[in-house]
Amino acid sequence: MVLAANLRLDANWVDYGLIGIYFVFVLGIGILARRSVSSSLDFFLSGRSLPAWVTGFAFIAANLGAVEIVGMSANGASYGIPTMHYFWIGAVPAMLFLGVVMMPFYYGSKVRSVPEFMRRRFGTGAHLVNAISFAVAQLLIAGINLFLLANIVEVLLGWPLWVSLIIAAAIVLTYTTLGGLSAAIYNEVLQFFVIVAALLPLTILGLKKVGGYSGLKDELLKFPDGVDRVSSWPGTNLTGIDNEVLSVIGIVFGLGFVLSFGYWTTNFVEVQRAMASKSISASQRAPIIGSFPKMFVPFIVVIPGMIASVTVSEVSPNAKVPDVNNAILYLIQDLLPNGMLGIAIAGLLAAFMAGMAANISAFNTVFSYDLWQQYVTSDHEDEYYTRVGRIATVAATIVAIGTALFASQYTNIMNYLQVLFGFFNAPLFATFILGMFWKKMTPTAGWVGLVTGTVTSVTVAVLSVDALGPMSIGVINLSGQGAAFVAAGVGFILDIAVSIVVSLPGKPKEESELRDLVYSLTPKADFREEEGSRVPWWQTPTKLAGVSLVLVTILNILFW
């Protein structure tokens, strides 16, 4: 993000007061959640006790951090309506798939993390690769969230970077060390409502300014690439693929099926929230309930970006270097009076802190259960691992501050590293889905497929024109988002192919060991808790998912 000195906001005491109140609530939640922590399962998975609506909102709020708000409003300013695909083709179908198909395995097998599922299904080879790459990625992303937070405070309020870095880190550290996952999740839910309270009025004012949605469309059509900005298909400006048919395939298969399914179904930051639910049905409903607000999030994130592209000269495509990353900030400066300003700043800080806390709470669980307990010492009492988790939280926060300072010097490197870790998800999804539905897949195939798929994805990205920035060498003529979609897609296909070839002559695990891990070897009763209890349709995962799917299809058609 470029530092724009002209973005300084005129915050008064009311604004600061509103921000201060938010911090009191955040810390209060941490202190109260402390009381409910009496075992490691309480600390790392909220004792598997939360209602589905709480974990459902946490599920999307954990993702509604800096990367999402800054990144998706920037995409809105650069590409317009095709950005909606990230939500309506990407996230929502993937969340429904997680809830209906995959969550029963994660919850029913009683594993405590996604890597642990990997270990139970395929043994330690695949597990170690998965656990370490996940832990490293979380530290990195926590640092990015922290950096973006401190950067925004510097731009908007003029505080030095290091001051807000340390204050924000100390607050996140306090509540996650005290209350564990419960504190993180409760704060995520709270954050979601504050960010809506900030961005919804902003969007309404913005729309009023441009004359409603039709006025916005008229303005966008004045740009040379205006036609691409007002309709979602074929999205050639987003993919960078000129051929319309290939562009659509790239979006549906690359962004939708491979990248988004990979992210939402195997990323433990997300899955951990659903795992904290109080029953198998609640864990299934968590991502499905989350899909309802998720499909409307782009209206308060992407649309403001699009509005900024027509109302803010610095963000407009006619500017020499459009400052799209600050689109939302410019709009806040232009439209919001004191008072609302405080809510908006509190909302942004809340989102970035909650995003960082989500990364750290997922990190400390994988570190404690999957690395420390599995490979270092497994013979201690349960309380010992809660303590390990707390120490890991402190260490992770310190590392995140370091990462944030590094990011402030080398912003681009951080962006590309993040893209790089994105390539780990697609093969992971391939390995999981094959392992869940094909009992003959062997442990060797587990790690060989995963490594082959990941190496392939990264190789394609390196060979492309710019998927990994300066690290790409341009042998294959693919650029922009399209390159990322192709890299992920090829990794996915190769992972499946190699896993099948390696499994066929090999010896699969004993069928008795695969109960609750593989579909055909799991008695249906394991996935259903109460027999014969009548529940209304909105508590039945499949029916609720059906309603969500219908709604998101309507949205897709409306913005065709």
Binding site: L32, F193, P201, N338
Partner: protein, 96 residues
């Protein structure tokens, strides 16, 4: 999206005296409190603190006032929901 937080059997179960309301730490009360405080501050600010220039900047809308009202409504919805369907949690009996 509303969902019963009360276990089905809670009302008829003999163990009921071992359960208590999670009143102090129901996240809905927290959400209601924060949105309520925000709503009241914005409402007052909208009534007495927002200048004409600020209203003009916000496209002629007194956005503090209206957001304040909306937040107060949202706050009372959460408070009502928490009141009507309280969370029943089992007493902790181990290692407390």
């Amino acid at each position: 999206m509303s969902e019963s937080n009360t276990p089905q059997a809670a009302h008829s179960e003999p163990r009921e005296e071992r359960r208590h309301r999670a009143g102090a730490f129901d996240i809905r009360n927290f959400i209601a409190a924060l949105l309520g405080v925000y709503g009241i501050v914005l409402l007052i600010d909208g009534l007495v603190g927002t200048s004409d220039a600020e209203i003009a900047k916000a496209q002629g809308i007194n956005v503090n006032l209206w957001t304040g009202i909306a937040l107060i409504i949202a706050s009372s919805l959460f408070a009502t929901w928490a009141r009507l369907r309280p969370v029943i949690v089992p007493e902790r009996h181990d290692r407390d």
